[in-house]
Amino acid sequence: MNDVIGGSPRRADGAAKISGVFEYSSDLVCDGMVWAATLRSPHAHARILAIDTEPARKLAGVRDVITHEDIPGRKLYGQMMVDQPVLAGDVVRYHGEPVAVVAAEDPETARLAAELIRVDYEVLTPVTDPVAATAPDSPAVHPGGNVLARKVIRRGSAQNGEFPQAAVVVRGEYTVGMQDHVFLGTESGLAVPDGDGGVRLHVATQWPHVDQEQVAASLGLDSDQVVVSMAGVGGAFGGREDLSVHIPACLIALRLGRPVKMVYSRTESFFGHVHRHPAVLRYEHGADPDGRLVYVKAEIFLDGGAYASSSPAIAGNAATHAVGPYAVPHVHAEAVAVYTNNPPCGAMRGFGTVQPCFGFESQMDRLAEAVGIDPVEIRLRNALSEGGSLPTGQVLDSAAPVAELLTRLRALPVPERTSDDPAIVRGVGYASCLKNAMFSEGFDDHSTANVRLRVVGGAPVATVTSAAAEVGQGVLGVKRQIVRTELGVAEVEVVGADTRFPSAGPASASRQTYMVGGAVRAACLEVREEVFALARARLGGSLAEHRDLAEHWDLAEDSVVDAAGEPLIGLAELLGETVIDRTSRFHHRTTEPLDPVNGQGDSAVTFGFAAHRAVVDVDLELGLVQVVELAIAQDVGRAVNPLALRGQLAGGTVQGVGLALMEELQVADGQVLNPSLSGYLIPTMADVPSVNVDLLELADPHAPYGIRGIGELPAISSTAAVAAAVRAATGRAVSRVPIRPEDLVDFS
């Protein structure tokens, strides 16, 4: 069967998507709905002196206008720190911050009316440099000061503030620009009043349950009065963890007693969600004469922008991943997330590990050069392996095939040069990474699923229900594959659930196949037990020999089968009218918070490993980079759906190439300069070559089916690999991404 674990069934929602009938959140309509639009601040930092909504209200077709005063409940929201106003009240802290929302009979009127609202601002000087913002005398963006999170890891002698002598020392400062998710389906949703004072929100999200709590708090409602339903999601990549249209749409729906639809334009989408933290990274690596690492000092500044979003956890990841997949006895790593008046930054694929990867991999290249060995060799000499430990002291208790991944990449042939133009130089670059999967630092992460088995029309049918967010990654299909694997039933229905069903946790942290898979599997195992109990009761003495073999029974092809795969009894016959219904909640193994002083602790559930190789041609006259070939090798533990997996790995790789070469949301004095797809460029098909994907399957013995979280890794080391290739081609330091022509050519 192709549709069990390890097969590559076609996407469950693929036919609907490919024929245009799949409904994304922006496609939803409802009779009598109004459209809402947002007025956003043109200033990065300003005091609001007055808001006059009258001009908007007077426009024909306008039905409602809300400002901060109209928020009935909690006026702030936030997943980790509740610090972000739903609508700005006394002060705006970033360019594009929402100030008011207008609802009207059609979208044009709503947008026009929003522009008519008069806001008197007293413009203030923005705080825009994250490093300077940490100085004690810097103006404060929030009353508590600008350091919103600081995570420190001290290992070995660094615990005493000391470092051993090292024969070779390399230092570097690296900069990472602000990347955006650019999911193609912009933020959108439809809020429908339920007629009883509650509201149902259909929205593109990564975690409906956490949306629900935040929406209810701001509406001043009980959680169960707000139902959040997954609407079709056009990509996420972390950008849908924070709220967008949610609260205003629900509030206006309740005020008007009418459905409210909100759809962000592309420009508004650039303002309407958090971005990847821009970063400044200062590194010092000390090694012995052979290049074996002795110590690493890392200082990482992450620009969190105006509000916290998930910056505290991202700073934690940046610190714990600061040295990468290498063994380092003495480490001092510090990651600081800083408030500024730049756009808020938060979760994006890689979650705090992309920035340090560019830093530590650049350092490894420098170290290789200083020692006089090959960039792959320096990595092999320092590669972590199973049994090795991280700067947190956590021991890697399953496969850590860093060396193998790099070796496989190195074995690939390098394509022939096709140009003999001396101005075009070729370079090959390598990078590797590790990434924690699931939630870390003691968070109790769980996922719930229900599996029902019954007979419909003479055939057994299994139904799996969960609130797991399908954001394009293919979790729908994973659920079906698991049910088919465990229950051997041909007919499997996959049912999505809203917040009236328990949480599956988010589609983030590379956790969903693992966690939802774990929950579905656990429910299936209970169903299996019940089926076997029924079978034992039914088959009884007549098949006594099979009773001894009960533990060897299996389910296959709609039947209970014995150890040899011979059918004992059909499920339809066995079940009759019986419905087996099991709900299971799955937790991953527990983790610890990090020690606040030295950052030691088993903070992560599990890690994945990946490595990239990039081959580039650089035009030394124009400073342009052409990526000639990309290859990724990744340990996926177990490939649940190899075809879908390869797609994820290729997709993440290309996002990383985007960060290396072209993607940057440019912000100057707090002003966003390029919030459009003509100003912010993402790779097109013509910008990238084929991606060579090499899957390693070293099962994680602690994981359901041995799987490892896979979604983020491909987006981490690809940026660093492209930078390394450009470095190899040009001999330039390449200490900033995205790489600009002026970094490669002296145009003066």
Binding site: D13, A15, S19
Partner: protein, 181 residues
């Protein structure tokens, strides 16, 4: 102004079309033809790719009035066009190759791919990449899309035709729960 447009063989009309209204807004917001996607309204992403009198256009850049009395082809009409009731071979190739993830780019990408194969029946990889560069995808890294286009061009048509009925379109699959019930 009142205009009427034939979309996938069916005539639609609209009153009071305003000067700045795009064909995309007409299709999606007035007629509910949401198979045509909107990701930028700036002519940059190709999500809204349709055929206008047989010529590939970005619907967001075409003033609605220019479509008056003309024919528009969307992804919803692709399967039916000369290929029986099922999916078009290009659509099937996308499914087989894993070229659909979130799928938001897919309707536009399929339209562009179908048009490409009319013009260049057996494109090289380089040709596919050059010709479809106006259609952005953020999920796939394009590899599977290129594979799909080339496989639709090659000998896989017949195999793809055969097993449509097996369709993986799950009953009760409701992520994207869609229209209100």
């Amino acid at each position: 102004m009142r205009i009427s447009v034939t979309v996938d063989g069916k005539t639609h009309s609209a009153e009071d079309v305003w000067a700045g209204e795009s064909l995309l807004r007409l299709l999606r917001d007035r007629w509910g033809l949401t198979g045509v996607k909107n990701a930028c309204e700036q002519g940059e992403c190709g999500s809204c790719t349709v055929r206008l009198d047989g010529v590939l256009v970005n619907a967001c850049l075409v003033p609605a009035m220019q479509a008056d009395d003309r024919e528009v082809g969307t992804v919803a009409g692709l399967g039916a066009a000369g290929d029986g009731p099922g999916l078009h071979p290009v659509q099937r190739a996308f499914l087989e190759a894993g070229a659909v993830q979130c799928g938001f780019c897919s309707p536009g990408m399929v339209m562009a791919a179908e048009d490409l194969l009319r013009r260049i029946p057996d494109p090289t990889e380089a040709e596919v990449r050059a010709e479809l560069a106006g259609n952005l995808c953020r999920c796939t890294g394009y590899q599977a899309i290129v594979d799909a286009v080339r496989s639709a061009a090659g000998g896989d048509r017949d195999r793809a035709k055969g097993d449509r009925a097996k369709g993986d379109c799950a009953k009760g699959d409701r992520a994207g729960e869609g229209r209100l019930s």
